[in-house]
Symmetry: C2
Subunit: 495 residues, 2 copies
């Protein structure tokens, strides 16, 4: 590597360090900050974002990128390519547009909270139309700079290597699968015994900590706190996960914490030798979601793990043995139900929510769907995909923050991640003898060991499909996800 | 104001915004961060400090400072002068020296922790000698740039407008007072009834929150958490205070929280119109300490307030009425005892600890005291000031972190603040009718209202003595502090 590349490495390390500071401040805003700190926090985060943006578009960075020689190491070569991508994305958007987007998104997000509470789309429409207008302008600029379709340029910002033309047929295949499978699954379901609460928060939290630690979360480098919307934030040596507790039901906190633990393990397992370099960071939101879902959905809701978990739960919460039998836990926690709300959806119907959004946001960005026509298009889409109609827009197109905050191209990551999780789990089962036997003993080590080499340790070395190819022998193949659902929901006797 | 000054205001606002981010990260490191996050946090704070330092020494800032016209508003005029001070201080120290100090201080602080635990000064001496060497170099550079004595230049960094030549006679006067008063106070003391614990942490915390809120702390803009060493951090709209709880004694948490509440109220009460400008920030550490001590020592340990507090305490913790009688609380919480440890000292003997450090650190910076000779000089000084000899250096010159972390010139702030608190309280009593009657009803509003105009609302408009002059009609006068001690500890019958 030459001097220019060494300088680039130092600049990007400094940039990542400032982004770490911002990540902790984001976590603090959600988990700790008193409400009166919000305005100043917005300024602080904007100041840090402004600094990193200035560094990315600075002339010296461009000179170093032109002159850089990373040597022969494929990690350094990939690192330089990612540096160029970051520079291209940052330079593609004029400063005035970035500022206009920040202002419009922030203003719209505030109005959206009121509009959702009042189930009144008209209230947010003017602000939302401006957000869409600016998002389209940004997508065009990004697409032109990267030489790809504007919507792809937005998706690429969340998950490198994903294209709408690849995603569309995968989602279409799932739509077909769902139309056939959903009625059958619904007909086979048996009502579970429900646990009788209350389940004290302290007991839930203690159990969450115990299970997260058992799944490999090292609390010397992690925290678990509460927030209104559970998430995983922080940095690769100081990861912060949150949850919320419902004393009438321990499932949300428990499964939520295992989900966030999956995200956290990904960050903690990134290659330390490439820390703070672009190639040492997480590979994107779809890969991130695969890591949360392989822990929550694939491992923790497996028959094997539920058999181990039942007695542990009963020890924590007491009550009738029938509740904690593994087949009852499966009926409770693998219940499939059509509903209007994405975040409440089960793993079978969840992709339908994403497919709807994927199609609508493509149309919004392409200019084929006017913001004013969103509520109607939403209702039609929900009827077609799941056969249900939201009672109002709060249960419809107002339910998610993403678009109202300017985030288009993110939604596909959820389902691409779910599909990747199934594909990775199938490969892990092939690659690791006794993986389910270990989960049946509450032992995550074999799965984690496989994921370390297959995913975490690779950082951002590979894009989405290339990572799956390297880890599983094929690009994203929805068949593994559908096979997982068939095995879990359609196979065997009805128990 | 002209364009150059408008640019300066924007640059300093941005700088303060980044410093706010750093303040939250400092709080997080002490109150929230898992231990494994420490190394990355050090990098994050160094990166933010590097950014603000670069902005301060940038050529464009110098040009704007030369060309700036702030107009006729005294606030803007003072603001520009403070901007020039910050630039001068930042530019005075070569980057290589700043980095060498950061490294040496950080290394020494780590060794100091071991040395203190082992009561082994020799272990830290080499690292400490380097810290002193670099501190002297920095003090010389700062003194030359500011045209003042090197030690004064260090003090000025913590409290503007304080000079050793002014402080020395004030401290000497106190030394004389103490030599006479201390034996008399000790002879008059009566043993208190001690409260019988345990006092559950939850009850202590609830009471701390209630009393802090009663003293004016608005939890929409504040948090109370735990940390090993209580402190006040955060920002003027998002203030974070911490304490620690001892279940055998509620005094430490309660009085500690009231102390930190005083600091917090100062930050929350700074002039919002000048937020993020140098003139809108706290006036220095001595003024800050005056604001914590006027709440903790002047108000909360007053006869009037203790009479109100007794029944509140008994309601929270139960137990014998005799314990909660105001005269017993006074005997408990105004007990005077010579001891080797500064942070355990009462308000009468505390200044002796500061006077010792003030004299020793002047000698260290002047080169009149070799680091190797510190333990002996310390023992001699303690014997002369308080008539006691520490059992070892852990109870002597190793007890405080300040010097080992490179902070020279800070210690005087504690006693200047204590004296200023007494002077401000005397002025408040003159200025506000019924101030003690209000405290006797648990009502801080009259005191707070007076302080808002006299201190908080003035931000950094005035230096230390000028602020006291404006608020109380005279520069710092130790007589008010001594009069306070006479009234509290030497007047009236022994009860």
């Amino acid at each position: 590597m030459n001097d220019a590349y060494v300088r680039l490495r130092a600049r990007f390390a400094r940039l990542a360090t400032v982004e770490e500071a911002a990540a902790i401040l984001h976590w603090d805003a959600a988990a700790m900050m008193p409400p009166g700190g919000g305005a100043a926090r917005g300024d602080q985060l904007a100041a840090l974002a402004g600094i990193t943006h200035e560094w990315l578009v600075a002339p010296d960075l461009a000179e170093w990128l032109d002159a850089a020689d990373p040597g022969d190491d494929p990690w350094e070569i990939a690192n330089l390519a990612l540096m160029r991508d970051r520079r291209s994305r940052a330079a593609a958007l004029p400063g005035a547009l970035v500022e206009a987007q920040a202002r419009a998104n922030s203003a719209c997000e505030k109005i959206w909270r009121e509009a959702r509470a009042a189930a009144d789309f008209a209230r947010v429409l003017p602000a939302f139309a401006e957000v869409v207008h600016l998002a389209r302008e940004g997508a065009s600029a990004l697409g032109a700079a990267l030489g790809i379709d504007p919507y792809d340029a937005l998706m690429e910002g969340f998950q490198r290597g994903v294209r709408a033309a690849d995603v569309a047929p995968i989602f279409a295949a799932y739509e077909t699968f769902l139309a056939d499978a959903l009625p059958v699954i619904e007909a086979r379901q048996i009502a579970p015994h429900s646990p009788a609460g209350p389940f004290p928060e302290a007991a839930q939290e203690a159990l969450c900590r115990r299970l997260a630690a058992r799944a490999g979360l090292d609390f010397a480098h992690a925290r678990l706190d509460r927030s209104a919307h559970p998430f995983c934030g922080g940095t690769p040596t100081d990861i912060r996960i949150t949850t919320r507790y419902d004393e009438s039901d321990f499932a949300e906190s428990l499964m939520g914490v295992m989900h966030e633990t999956g995200h956290a393990l990904y960050e903690l397992g990134l290659p330390r030798a490439m820390a703070r370099q672009p190639v040492g960071q997480a590979a994107g939101m779809a890969v991130h979601e695969s890591q949360s879902l392989i822990i929550e959905m694939q491992a923790c809701r497996s028959d094997a793990f539920l058999a181990w978990l039942g007695p542990v739960l009963r020890e924590s919460f007491g009550g009738a043995a029938a509740v904690y039998a593994p087949e009852n836990l499966a009926r409770l926690w693998r219940r499939v139900a059509r509903g209007p709300i994405r975040v409440d959806a089960d793993e079978v119907t969840y992709p339908a929510h994403v497919i709807l959004r994927f199609r609508l946001e493509q149309a919004l960005i392409a200019g084929d769907l006017a913001p004013a026509d969103l509520p109607g298009a939403w209702r039609e889409g929900m009827a077609a995909l799941l056969g249900i109609t939201p009672r109002n827009d709060a249960e419809g197109c107002l339910q998610d923050i993403h678009w109202y905050d300017g985030a288009f191209g993110y939604f596909p990551s959820y389902t691409l991640g779910a599909m990747a999780a199934a594909q990775l789990m199938a490969a892990a089962r092939r690659g690791v003898a006794g993986l389910d036997r270990a989960l049946g003993a509450g032992d995550f080590a074999p799965l984690l060991g496989w994921l370390r080499d297959a995913v975490r340790g690779r950082g951002s070395l590979l894009g989405f499909d290339d990572l799956l190819l390297a880890a599983t022998g094929k690009r994203l193949d929805p068949e593994d996800f559908m096979a997982h659902l068939r095995a879990r929901y359609l196979a065997g006797a009805i128990t």
